[in-house]
Homo-oligomer: 211 residues x 2
């Protein structure tokens, strides 16, 4: 076991602490954790806490009741530190404006920060079926990390005629193309003079069924 990875049990304990804390406003006691998991000995929990502390995920304040301090990385997962409001949701894109400009922000989407880590994220709704081939459907919300340049092979958000569409950034024999993941669409070939606005790189998808 890598020194910085938690075991399944330890992970469950951490999750419980986080959820208890966000529900009650303070961390659980050792005995409350034991009760939640059905442990008959508080000491078992202490052992877990010690190991979790050694791996740097929490800090135990000796002698203090409920003295479990969540370390920054986990706290971020809990309510997003800077972005507790979620990441900006971009409805439609006003021509000429940077994509995440206030003008474009139509709301905020809460993300799970333990899944979507890091900064510079935003969300937008995809129109069209050009990415059906990789399981992205019309109406899906995609999570994007801001980025103005694309690496070959990456799936990026490009702004075409005020609409955000996803395309795979391809370089073949020195020629740069934007390729849809759908055989019904043809590649868009970029001639060197032609510039297209890259807004960011695809990092996730959120889809809602019904309603």
């Amino acid at each position: 076991m890598s020194p910085y990875e938690l075991t399944a049990q330890q992970q469950r304990v951490v999750s419980y602490i986080l959820s208890y804390r966000s529900q009650n406003g303070f961390p659980p006691t050792v005995r409350e954790i034991a009760a939640a998991f059905g442990y008959r000995s508080p000491n078992n929990v202490r052992q877990h806490l010690r190991l979790i502390e050694q791996k740097g995920f929490i800090r135990l304040l000796p002698g203090k009741a409920r003295g479990i301090e969540i370390s920054a990385s986990l706290a971020a997962g809990e309510y997003g530190e800077e972005g507790e409001r979620g990441v900006p949701f971009i409805g439609s894109v006003a021509a000429g404006k940077p994509i995440t400009a206030i003008e474009n922000v139509d709301g905020y989407v809460t993300l799970d920060r333990s899944i979507f880590k890091g900064g510079g994220l935003f969300a937008l709704r995809i129109k069209g079926d050009s990415m059906n081939g990789m399981g992205i459907l019309n109406g899906d919300i995609v999570v994007v990390r801001k980025k103005s340049q694309a690496e070959p092979g990456e799936v990026v958000v490009v702004i075409i005629d005020g609409d955000a569409t996803l395309k795979r950034f391809i370089r073949e024999n020195g020629i740069i193309k934007l390729r849809a993941e759908n055989p019904a669409y043809e590649d868009i070939v970029l001639d060197p003079g032609n510039s297209i606005q890259v807004a960011g790189k695809l990092v996730g998808v959120i889809r809602k069924y019904g309603g």
Copy 2:
């Protein structure tokens, strides 16, 4: 003094609690508050807390260490929304256990509640490609609403051999089938005696690329 306004002292106490809490991750004890204000008696703080509670700004949880719950109005100023906790994330399914039993919970996933409304939600990771046809890929996290019975046409989570898989619930000529959204898979025909455990109904998908 209006019944819903705090006195200057009470306000100082409240703001100390808030700042202590955001700094340490848990509320202070009565004695810690006393020490911070130079009070020589813990009872003075208790009196303050009682009055603050009467005015509705906090709630005291009797007998609990650091049992000071900040009421919604104050908490809102501190970190935005009310304590939304995530939905349980089910890693693998222990045979014979209800799917959301604590044994199965591997963590919690934060959802955007304006997208995924209502209760009874949980999340699990999908294995296999049986639902490729509707844009759900191997490894995707699906959001599911708990439900033990399926309506014809619904996509439901069924537990087969300890794995959660998605299938469309079909009724054709009175015969009930579970259909994969992938031509490579054949329908599973349920004879009346044969029972399969329905865990819930598909309401969403979350996918993460890279990492």
